[in-house]
Symmetry: C2
Subunit: 333 residues, 2 copies
């Protein structure tokens, strides 16, 4: 899979910025690949990119229309189809991270074939995987884990990549979700893999490497989340991480999507993930915390929160967005 | 999915009894549904059923040819096709638990259509599932778990069902693997479910029920097995078990299929599974052990082994095949 840039970012009729989360992530981390944005009537999201028509985008060398928006149910509404057909007819490929496959939509599939264009469904793995072996392999690995879903595991892994690159360290970001895959231009949407192959797919994603090379693997879910812990467990075992970074949102009162499910105890959650990781890498340690403090407006309270977490855990605690992640990697340089 | 019996058990060219494990399981637990067996040249397995031709089977009221044999790779070899076509043309449905879908084999798919017959691929879920919610539901649940794969989790769950039925308790065996699905005539092959939906599929499989009803859920893999722990984790969370039975094979020296992976410590393995289960059912307890002692020939040594395990864990330890499982359920009667 090789999605060619520059991208024309398709926002459809996104209700709000959150609906365009994938698109925002791509623009934030790979601005240089994004040529412009295209919206349909009723769209309330904006990526601060130039608006462009399909013809303008093609004329300026754009290669792919990226559907960076998710609507309810993850399907393509009929109202998008004319624009998508026009894109294919004008010479653009289309890439999407939706539950519904573009390739399963007959009009799109036919138009792609007729026009010699490609449809990329990044949520749907195209390769087959082996069952995980648990065998050790060379190279270092860091996995971002979390006390919950949507606490910044992808952001943290990408921030770590950026920090390591700036220190001239050898590293690769390894994507396990759709936004990450667009950013890395490769990866496996791990929650779409058949469950027998979760750890095997992760081993494939992060193969043996130089002894001083770091794979920075994007985590998913949480061992403490009753909906997704299976995905997380396979990912932890397949990653064989030397280091974990625990991602946390300290103001959250219950697990995401589950009002009846309390947030886990932070220390127990670190222990749970570290012990699970030691099954395939006995040397694994949690090296610090990436704390999303965006909901704490007062700067003194924010610093106090990080200090409390650091005191409780005996580990460095930073907000990757506000403080950067240098504290987390300085022992590896 | 409703696979109609009586079954004609197809053994193909099975190399040995182990290759016919699914067929043996069906015959062991549901002898009354099995009319006879049919073999191809070179078959070394036998189910102690009458040999029958397809025409004999049809004449005597057989409804389904069951492919109860797995060959390397889980695919249908060309040498089986003429017999399978003959079965469809003669009025039998075909059911299989192979990785390869019968429905993906064009000759079979066409013949089924022409003859109005059904092809059942029990490994491949036909329904879609929700993401697991972790919300409590009425009814009692028991999940068999294990220190490894292939230590008797299905056998133990079925033995528990039999014991509960003989005590007039309300219960259902809930199948999570292909052999179990043939036996129960329903279920979900949980390792074939997309990983996002493992716990959701398990919740679906074992819905709310009467307060005094027990679901006896067939476990898969082990939280200590680096290849399959993700499957196990989702299953544990989705099952919300009140009770776990830990299945164990005491003579095994390494995890199945992984010569480099040591067997887990028994006490730690019980703790690992119990703690995981308590995320969605805080009352969960491990109530005993089902120990496969088939590799311990000397009866005194066998008894000693069970006694040692019982002393170590403080829990009853039985071999379901030799001792039955009454010890495990007597507190629930």
């Amino acid at each position: 899979m090789k999605i060619e840039s520059p991208y024309l970012m398709f926002l459809g009729d996104a209700q709000d910025e959150l609906a365009a989360k994938t698109a925002s992530g791509i623009v934030h981390w790979r601005r240089d690949r994004c040529f412009g944005q295209i919206k349909l009537p009723g769209c309330n999201a904006d990526l601060s990119l130039p608006d462009a028509s399909i013809m303008e985008a093609v004329d300026r060398g754009c290669k792919t229309l990226v559907i960076g928006v998710a609507n309810r149910g993850g399907v393509v509404p009929d109202s998008w189809i004319p624009t998508l057909l026009h894109a294919l007819e004008s010479g653009l490929d289309i890439a999407a991270g939706l539950h519904q496959k573009l390739d399963d939509i007959e009009d799109l599939s036919r138009a792609a074939q007729i026009n010699g264009r490609q449809l990329f469904d990044v949520r749907h793995p195209t390769q087959t995987f082996n069952v995980g072996s648990g065998k050790g392999r060379s190279g270092k690995r860091l996995l971002t884990v979390g006390t919950d879903c949507s606490v910044g595991k992808m952001y943290t892994a990408l921030a770590l990549e950026q920090a390591m690159i700036s220190e001239n360290m050898k590293c690769d970001f390894r994507a396990t979700g759709q936004t990450g895959i667009f950013i890395a231009n490769s990866g496996v949407c791990i929650d779409a893999v058949v469950s027998d192959f979760i750890s095997g797919a992760t081993e494939w994603l992060s193969p043996k490497n130089d002894d001083d090379h770091w794979d920075l693997i994007e985590g998913q879910g949480s061992l403490s989340h009753p909906s997704y812990a299976g995905v997380t467990m396979g990912l932890v075992h397949g990653a064989q991480p030397h280091a974990l970074v625990m991602c946390h949102e300290p103001t959250r009162t219950h697990m995401r999507g589950l009002p009846h499910q309390r947030m886990p105890d932070l220390l127990k959650c670190i222990e749970l993930h570290t012990n699970a990781a030691r099954l395939t890498n006995p040397e694994c340690e949690c090296i610090g915390l990436a704390v999303n403090t965006s909901n704490i407006e007062n700067e003194d309270k924010r610093i106090e929160c990080l200090q409390n977490i650091s005191n409780l855990t005996g580990l460095p605690a930073v907000d990757p967005v506000k403080d950067g992640v240098f504290e987390l990697i300085k022992n590896f340089i």
